[in-house]
Amino acid sequence: MPLFVAGLSHRNAPVALREQLAVDEDKLRELLRDIGATGVVREALILSTCNRVEVYAVADVPGEARTATFRRLCHHRGVGPDSVETALYTYVDGEAVRHAFRVASSLDSMMIGEPQILGQVKDAFALAQSCETVGPALHTLFTQAFAVAKKVRTETEIARHAVSVSFAAVELAKKIFAGLDGKAVLLVGAGKMSELAARHLIEQGAFPLYVANRTWARAQELARALSGTAVPFDELTTALAAVDIVITSTGAPAPVITRETVDRVLPARRGRPLFFIDIAVPRDVEEAVDMLDGVYRYDIDDLKQVVDANIRERGREAHRAEALVEREVAKFVTRLGDVEVIPTIVSLRERLEAIRAGEVKRTLARLPGATLETREAIEALSSAIVNKILHAPITKLRESSRAGSPRSWLELVHELFGLGRK
C-alpha cells in the first residue's frame, strides 16, 4: 500500500521555516489541483497549521511524489527547496497511518491534548474532498483517524486537566466546592486575567458576582460587563463574609486582605470554605491566611505549579493514549490492505450481477406461465452460481492485497472479466 506522509512540524523545524511554508486555503486548493494534475499522486491531502505542514498522499513511487509535491509547495511560497528538503520527515504505510492517528489525537501536538488540531485535520480533509483529491485510501484513513481521536479523548484523560492558569483556578475551586452552582464570587481589582477566571467560574454556575475596586466607576463598569454587583471597596470585609471564592488582582503595593481581616470574618462564615485566587504581583492576600482553617489561598506561582502538575498528568495519560493508538494502527493496517482492491471487487460484482439479472429477465420473459415459486427459484439459482464463481477471485484479490502485490492480479481480473480501464 503506497501511502505516505511527508512534512515538517514543530518537532524538527523552527518556526522560521514553518512560517515560510504555511499556506492559506485558496493557495491550498490551487496546490492540491496542481499536484493532482501531475499524475504522480493518486490521492493527496495537505495539512497546514502553524505547527506543521504535511502532505498525506497515495502514490506508486512515494519518493518521487514527495519531491514533486514539495517542489511545488516551495515554488508556490517562493522558498528554496533545499532548506526544506533536509527538514522533511517521511513515513510510509503503517508508519504513515500511525502518524495520522497521532496527529489527529493531538499526541503529536506541542501541547499534548490540545483540542484544535482535530478540527484542523477535519478542515484539511474537507478541503481535499472538495478538490477531489481524496480517494478510497485517504477517505478510510481519515475517517478512522477521526474515530481514533474521539476514542483517545473519551477513554483517556489526555485533555482533562487544565493547562492554563485561569482554568486551573476553576478546577481547584471544583476540588474544594464540588459543584460551583450558586457559589458567590468576589472580584477585587480589575485585571484581564481575573476577569477571565471570573468568566470561567460563571460558566460553571457560580453566582452571584461582586466587584470591588478602588475606582468606583471601574467597579461599576466591570460589574455591568459580567452581570454582577459593584460593592464599595471599604465594604470588602462584609463581602468577604458572604462569598465563597475571591479573585484578587489589584495593583496595590501591599496586601489588601490580611490574615487579621479574614480571621475576623471566619465566625460569620460558620465553617464554609473560602478560596482565594490571588493573581496580583505583588500579592494581594497575605500568605499567613494559609494558617486559617477552611481557607485556601493560591497565588500565581501556586497556580503555575498546579498547571505544571497537570501537564505532567497529561504526559502520563499520553502513554495510555499511545498504546490505544498502537492497537488501532494494527487493526487498521490489516483493513487498509483491502482498500486498493475494493473498487475492483465492487465492479466485478456489478458486472456479474448485471449479466445475471439480464439473463434471468430474458428467461422469465420466455416463461409467461411460470409461478412465483419458479421465478424465485430461478433468481436464487442464478445468484448462487454467481456467488460461487466470484468467491475464488475475490479471495485471491484480498490475499494479494494483504501480501502487498495486488497490481498484477488487479490487471488480470480486469482483463479476464472485461471490466474496462481503471
Binding site: 481547584l172 471544583k174 476540588k175 459543584g179 501556586d302 505549579q305 498546579v306 502538575a309 498528568e313
Partner: protein
C-alpha cells in the same frame, strides 16, 4: 464448611485490599478492575460462609460479637461495591477494604457463644441496629480519612496522585456528615436496647462488661461530633478529626469486646 469458605473469603479480601491500595498509588485502570473482581469474589465466598454457618447453627449468625462483626463486614463490602459504582468513586475500596479486612481477621475463628442465654426479640434488634450503625460509621471513617488527605493536597499546593483521584472536599464532607447522621441513630437505639436488655438480663445496667462500657465512650464522641456539626457549625477538618477519633474509640470497643473476658462472647 463455613470455616473453609471464610478462610477463602479472607484471602480474597487480602488480595482485594492489596490491589485497591496499589490502584490508589499506581492509578492503573487494570488494577482497579482486578480489585473489583477480587472484592466481588471474596464477598460471594463470604456470603457462602455466612449461609453455611447459619445452617450449621440453625439460627442467624448474630448471637456473638465475632458473628455479628462478620455480618457487619459483609454489609460494608456490599455497600462499598454499590457506592463505588453508583458515584464513580473508584478509590473508595482503598479506604474501606482495609477496615473490612481488619474486622474480618478479628472475627475468625468464630466460636459459638458459650454459657449465654439469648432470649427475646430485643436482643436481635439490639444486634441488628448496632451492626447497621457500625457499617455506616466505617464509611464515616473512610470519608473523613479521604477528606483529610485531599485537604492536605490542597494545602500543600503541589498536586499529587491523590489530588487527581480523590473527590472534592465538599463531597467528602457531605459523605462524612450523611454517614454519621445515618449511623448515629442506629448506634444509639442499638445501645439503648442493649442497656435495657442488660438491665433485665444481667440484673444491672452497669454489670461490668468491657464492650458495653467502652461503647458509651464511643457513643459520646459521636454524639459530640454530631452536635458540633448540627449546632456548632463544625465543618471539614475538625469534623473529620472527630470522625476518626470516634472510629478509634469504636474499634477499641470492639477489640475489647473480642479479646477481654466479658458478656459479649469474645
Amino acid at each position: 464448611m463455613h470455616q473453609t469458605l471464610l478462610t477463602l473469603a479472607i484471602i480474597g479480601y487480602v488480595v482485594a485490599t492489596g490491589l485497591a491500595l496499589a490502584y490508589l498509588v499506581q492509578r492503573e485502570e487494570l488494577l482497579h478492575r482486578l480489585a473489583s473482581l477480587a472484592t466481588l469474589a471474596a464477598w460471594v465466598l463470604h456470603t457462602g460462609a455466612l449461609l453455611a454457618l447459619a445452617i450449621e447453627l440453625g439460627r442467624p449468625p448474630l448471637a456473638s460479637l465475632p458473628e455479628a462483626l462478620s455480618v457487619a463486614v459483609w454489609v460494608v463490602v456490599v455497600l462499598e461495591m454499590w457506592l463505588e459504582r453508583r458515584y464513580g468513586l473508584s478509590v473508595l475500596g482503598a479506604f474501606v477494604l482495609p477496615v473490612a479486612l481488619a474486622f474480618s481477621l478479628q472475627s475468625t475463628p468464630m466460636r459459638p457463644l458459650i454459657g449465654q442465654t439469648l432470649s427475646g426479640a430485643w436482643v436481635w434488634v439490639h444486634i441488628g441496629l448496632a451492626l447497621v450503625g457500625i457499617a455506616a460509621l466505617v464509611f464515616n471513617f473512610a470519608g473523613a480519612l479521604m477528606y483529610l488527605l485531599q485537604e492536605r493536597q490542597l494545602r500543600a499546593k503541589r498536586p499529587g496522585a491523590l489530588y487527581y483521584t480523590l473527590p472534592a472536599l465538599a463531597t467528602l464532607d457531605r459523605l462524612t456528615y450523611r454517614t454519621l447522621a445515618l449511623g448515629f441513630p442506629f448506634l444509639t437505639t442499638g445501645l439503648l436496647l442493649g442497656v435495657l436488655w442488660a438491665g433485665a438480663a444481667w440484673g444491672s445496667v452497669f454489670a461490668f462488661d468491657p464492650l458495653a462500657f467502652l461503647s458509651y465512650v464511643a457513643w459520646a464522641v459521636y454524639a459530640a461530633t454530631l452536635a458540633g456539626r448540627a449546632v456548632g457549625g463544625w465543618h471539614g477538618r475538625r469534623a473529620a478529626y472527630f470522625a476518626i477519633l470516634g472510629f478509634a474509640a469504636l474499634a477499641i470497643t470492639l477489640g475489647a469486646g473480642l479479646f477481654l473476658p466479658g458478656k459479649h462472647g469474645g
